[in-house]
């Protein structure tokens, strides 16, 4: 399959397509159709990744490698395993939906708007597929630019504050990661990720590198207390921006921990796991309470995202304590699988939730919860979708939202009963903030004239939400195929964690 250059196609097709769309500046409709064609084609080309994927091996697949910057020993080196491949599918799928959802509700600079998303898609695919740290870093930083533009140009009234906060937060973390990557390069002689993973490092080195990575990834996840950029960014971002931000960009942090922190610095991860576990649990409980009192729908969902992403980091770093407390490795993969599934599921559900808010915002032009009430009376189909996604967000079994939470709770109980206890509070808190939102917005008598005048979903909106609803339900009812794809990779990672890299 590698001679088809599938991964290159997934990176470059949307980027080139994005520049073509930029050229269609004068033809708004042409720009929309062109974007749809490009994003659909990208999605279709990503399907062979799933169908042609060899299950049962942790080796990188669809590998492409070419020299890139010879003086730095940096290669153009792409490949996917069972962890990154589903994330790429999530990216291509989400982008199609974002293009459809943005069809009419963006009126100024349509071509640029669409082009930003296409370029962003290519860059994000590249981040997930990079096996070379230099390439990874370039794409990782480049990814910020389209998102910066999306929020800064099409955002709300406080967009400047939000973009600067977003940019500075993520950039400061990234710069520290760059220092760590350069250090690793100087030691290893190349930017190849596999080389970094195999290279022995002292605990002291690992600790510094871990902390540098942590700065970059914790901001992206985001973990408490470096999370406050997210609610602001979401509130100001246009709907499409929020969807991509929540569905995919937050996953970069989790992915970074899996691909960099855990395998490159396993010993530091072990000695500092308490930090991640504590911050993850704070995210679940603290943020759960904060979400409860939000008055802005987007802020509420943003806080909900932070709490749910706490399960991702918890699932990853619970491994060491499982070994310590049970003396066995059973449960490590449970946590890792749970973390990865939680990332994918959160991508679908939070994306859907932000789209739902977008549907209402397009009609009423308010995100305030108090501006709504009784939406079900005028938008019954929409209400059905919103209730479904809200239940999925509360971790209802039968939806994708359940799997990750369940697996991580099961795994964390093996480490410590209190971890499971605190993590499981999401059952109550998650349901409380999500369904209270639904009660105030969706149910009840018609609250005001604006709600009375609402029109139910149009065909496009129905299509987008329907596609997400199907995905949420299919994954929830039958997650086995997804887990089958991931198994070899998470098992491999679980082994990497346990092997000390400190030279005796």
């Amino acid at each position: 399959m590698s001679n088809l250059h599938l991964l290159s196609l997934l990176v470059w097709l949307p980027i080139i397509g994005g520049f073509v769309v930029l050229g269609l500046n004068r033809h708004e409709h042409g720009a929309r159709w062109m974007s749809l064609v490009v994003s659909l084609a990208t999605f279709l080309f990503s399907i062979p990744l799933w169908t042609g994927f060899h299950r049962g091996t942790a080796a990188m697949q669809f590998v492409e490698r070419a020299p890139w910057i010879a003086t730095l020993h940096a290669d153009y080196y792409l490949g996917v395993d069972g962890i990154s491949m589903p994330l790429i599918l999530l990216t291509t799928f989400t982008t199609v939906l974002v293009v459809i959802a943005s069809w009419e509700n963006v009126s100024k600079r349509v071509a640029q708007y669409m082009a930003s998303f296409l370029i962003l898609e290519g860059l994000m695919n590249g981040v997930f597929a990079s096996l070379d740290a230099a390439l990874f870093y370039v794409l990782w930083e480049a990814m910020l630019i389209p998102m910066f533009i999306i929020i800064g140009v099409w955002g709300g009234p406080r967009r400047v504050y939000a973009t600067i906060k977003f940019f500075l937060y993520t950039f400061i973390g990234s710069v520290l990661m760059l220092v760590a990557l350069i250090y690793l390069y100087l030691k290893a002689g190349s930017y190849e990720l596999a080389g970094f993973q195999h290279m022995p490092l002292t605990l002291r080195e690992q600790t510094f590198i871990f902390l540098a990575f942590f700065a970059a990834f914790a901001v992206k996840v985001p973990m408490w207390p470096v999370h406050t950029w997210l609610p602001d960014a979401h509130v100001e971002a246009p709907t499409g921006g929020s969807v991509v931000l929540a569905a995919i960009m937050l996953k970069m942090g989790g992915y970074g921990f899996l691909r960099f922190s855990l395998p490159i610095t396993p010993d530091a991860s072990r000695s500092l796991d308490w930090l991640i576990i504590a911050l993850s649990l704070i995210a679940v409980v603290y943020i759960g309470f904060v979400a409860l009192v939000q008055r802005d729908m987007k802020k509420l969902i943003a806080y909900s995202s932070i709490a749910h992403m706490g399960f991702v980091t918890l699932g990853m770093f619970i491994a060491f304590q499982i070994v310590q407390h049970t003396g066995r490795t059973a449960g490590i993969e449970l946590g890792l699988d749970g973390a990865v599934v939680q990332m994918l599921s959160h991508g679908l559900i939070s994306g859907a939730m932000f789209l739902c808010v977008g549907v209402m915002y397009d009609r009423v032009h308010s995100r305030e919860i108090s501006a709504y009430g009784g939406v079900i009376n005028t938008m019954p189909y929409f209400a059905a979708f919103m209730v479904l996604f809200a239940l999925a967000n509360s971790g209802l079994p039968g939806t994708s939202g359940f799997i990750g939470e369940f697996l991580v709770i099961l795994a964390s109980f093996k480490a410590n009963v209190w971890y499971a206890f605190l993590a499981a509070t999401i059952l109550v808190l998650g349901a409380a903030y999500t369904l209270w939102l639904v009660k105030r917005v969706i149910f009840g008598a018609v609250a005001n004239e604006k709600v009375a005048a609402l029109k139910d979903l149009n065909g496009r909106e129905f299509l987008v939400l329907g596609a997400l609803a199907l995905a949420v339900l299919i994954v929830g009812v039958w997650p086995a195929p997804l887990l089958d794809v991931m198994r070899a990779s998470t098992a491999h990672l679980a082994q990497q964690l346990l092997v000390s890299k400190v030279v005796p």
Binding site: A330, G331, V428, A432
Partner: protein, 651 residues
């Protein structure tokens, strides 16, 4: 055999999907036809399965339908375990569900959400079947949550009513508190047995006994007790045991058919079923069973008392349901699982009957539910009257009715139990018999007898409900009256549940009762020598005296026991506490963390503070960049002087 089980589970799901997605296409008649067909198929096949198991002695079925996921070598399947316990539950669930489906045609006749309602109750039937048919904890939890969601949707069915959507949210959240414990219980089971399959877990139950849950470096709890109590917290939510009972009375905001199906006959008994299903685990922890016993007894007695002061006909029955669920829980706590399940079955019939009869009254009264505005309905609604009487007699345990057999056996079992708390429990369940009779016949007399207190308009239009309403009443009245006669022996003393429910010989209180069992008729006759029957009679007599013969007595009693009346009317202040303390505290914590933690400290000090610091530094540094040559020259001289001083200092 597997296709049959799949059909039983999936027929209602298919019907629910058709009615839910294509309700507008197939219309009202289409929606009720397809769902009744779906549930009817399930019901018929469930009876067939029960016949195969009981009549032909078919071995239990335990098989996988499909693999849900595999992770870390742990295989989580969707699968069925069909033994005698499950088969009985399937029959109860599908039969009551079928009755409720038929009844709904009449009850929801004028409602705009007709097709939606049928879709929901079929979906509920599917969820409940998945719960009882499961052979593993994961699917049990799926069914557990799914019935909770459908219950949420149905309590809030009339979504424009503020009280209904408040009640639905409350029900879901209180259940989630239970589920919080339930999930921890499941996690504990997996941690110490390495599996979530019933069969494997039960086989490794001793691992749980041997293990300790380390709560802190010095404190550790027995894993079996920890797991069982956590699982029971889940049951407390679903089966509305004190203090997680608060959602059930409010759930009466939903349409009456679902009060009968979900909040009386099936879903609320899921907790009872679950504990019975987990009997191989619970049997190993006396502590956990004592907790079960005490919580159940408290619910049985104190929730029954509330039924005496409620005036809403549905709420009286709801408190009765709470109390009866307490009875079942007491049976579980006394290791008399068979008696608990037996009472679950008889209760499903007579309580569904009572709710549907109340619904019939509510239709006649133009959706008036206040009993103070009823009275004398016997004349207008003979079928409702007689069937309701059957239900009421069964509820109070009138000798010979189904409720008599189950309640009497249950009380007997508690009296035999040596477990800690059984004395208290015995007092509660025996005193509860009097209370039950009192509130039941208070309701009965206030509704059907005495002066006609409704307004003139309602009175003119009073008439018996249509046949779709009365037929289910009659069909439920039959088992309510008779089912005890031929089920008491096998289910309690005949080893019907052998293989499904495990009781340690030392705990087997039912077996001791069985030694004295000489046939159903003798069982009835011997009851007259026991206290409960006379207590029930006294309760009926009191109700007659206070609420029919001399209502002034009730008023004066209310006045002289004002403080008690206040406590009861305020439902022991549980709701007040939850709303004014817990909910307010949660919001307070939330806004505190948000305003102080996120906004003041993180954003205010750390983020914007560093931005301000940088800005301030910049503004200070700006003065150095003045552009005047003599400033720079002066700085250079100063620097040079310092440098020289340093050099001199060093040497």
């Amino acid at each position: 055999m597997e296709p049959i089980y799949l059909t039983i589970a999936l027929a209602p799901l298919a019907a629910a999907v058709i009615a839910g997605l294509f309700g507008r296409v197939i219309g009202r008649a289409g929606a009720h036809s397809v769902t009744i067909l779906g549930v009817g198929i399930s019901c018929a096949l469930s009876f067939y399965v029960l016949y195969r198991i009981v009549g032909e002695g078919m071995a239990p079925f335990n098989g996988t339908v499909y693999t849900w996921l595999v992770s870390d070598g742990l295989t989580l399947n969707v699968g069925f375990l069909i033994d005698r316990l499950t088969a009985m539950m399937m029959v109860v669930v599908t039969f009551v569900s079928l009755m409720v489906h038929i009844y709904t045609i009449g009850y929801m006749h004028d409602d705009d959400g007709y097709t939606r309602f049928f879709s929901y109750i079929s979906l509920f039937t599917f969820s409940m079947l998945m719960l009882v048919m499961s052979n593993n904890f994961m699917q049990l939890f799926f069914g557990w949550e799914a019935v909770g969601v459908v219950s949420y949707l149905l309590i809030g069915f009339w979504y424009t009513r503020e009280s209904a959507i408040f009640a639905s949210l409350k029900a879901f959240l209180v259940n989630r508190i239970g589920d919080f414990g339930f999930v921890l219980g499941i996690a504990a089971v997996l941690r110490y047995t390495g599996s979530l399959d019933y069969a494997t877990v039960f086989a490794h139950a001793q691992d749980l006994v041997a293990a300790q849950v380390h709560v802190s470096s010095t404190v550790s709890w027995s894993a079996i007790t920890f797991a069982c109590i956590c699982l029971f917290v889940g049951a407390m939510g679903k089966s509305a045991q004190v203090p997680l009972h608060v959602w059930l009375p409010d759930s009466m905001e939903g349409p009456t058919p679902i009060s009968a199906l979900i909040h009386a006959a099936t879903m609320v008994t899921a907790g009872i079923f679950m504990v019975a299903r987990m009997s191989p685990l619970f049997e190993l922890s006396d502590t956990a069973l004592s907790v079960v016993l005490i919580i159940g007894a408290t619910t049985a007695f104190f929730m029954g008392l509330l039924g005496i002061v409620a005036n809403d006909i549905k709420r009286v029955i709801a408190y009765s349901t709470l109390s009866q669920l307490g009875y079942m829980t007491v049976a579980l706590g006394a290791s008399a699982y068979g008696a608990g399940i037996f009472h679950l079955m008889t209760h499903a019939f007579f309580k569904a009957l009572l709710f549907l009869a109340a619904g019939s009254v509510i239709i006649a009264m133009h959706h008036e539910q206040d009993m103070r505005k009823m009275g004398g309905l016997r004349r207008y609604m003979p079928i409702t009257y007689w069937t309701c009487l059957v239900g009421a007699l069964a509820l109070i345990g009138f000798p010979g009715t189904s409720g008599f057999f189950s309640k009497d056996a249950l009380i007997d079992a508690v009296s035999q139990s040596p477990r800690f708390g059984s004395g208290y429990a015995y007092f509660c369940v025996v005193a509860g018999v009097f209370i039950t009779a009192l509130y039941t016949f208070r309701m009965f007399f206030m509704t059907f007898h005495g002066k006609e207190r409704m307004d003139h308009h309602t009175q003119e239009h009073l008439h018996e409900s249509p046949w779709v309403v009365t037929l289910p009443l009659i069909l439920l009245a039959i088992p309510s009256a008779l089912v005890g006669w031929f089920t008491v022996k096998p289910m309690l003393f005949g080893g019907y549940f052998d293989g499904a429910i495990h009781v340690l010989p030392a705990n087997d209180v039912l077996a001791r009762g069985g030694e004295e069992f000489h046939g159903s008729a003798a069982f009835v006759a011997s009851a007259f020598g026991h206290l409960p029957v006379w207590l029930a009679a006294a309760g009926v007599a009191t109700a007659w005296l206070f609420f029919l013969k001399k209502p002034a007595l009730a008023d004066s009693a209310e006045r002289s026991f004002k403080w008690l009346y206040e406590i009861l009317v305020n439902k022991y202040y549980f709701d007040w506490f939850n709303e004014h303390v817990i909910m307010r505290l949660a919001r307070l914590i939330g806004s505190g963390l948000w305003h102080v933690g996120d906004q003041a400290l993180i954003d205010g000090v750390a983020v914007n503070g560093s931005a301000r610091t940088v800005g301030w530094l910049g503004s200070v540094m700006r003065y150095a960049q003045s552009g005047y040559l003599y400033h720079y020259a002066f700085a250079m001289i100063l620097g040079l002087a310092c440098f020289l001083m340093w050099i001199v200092w060093r040497t």
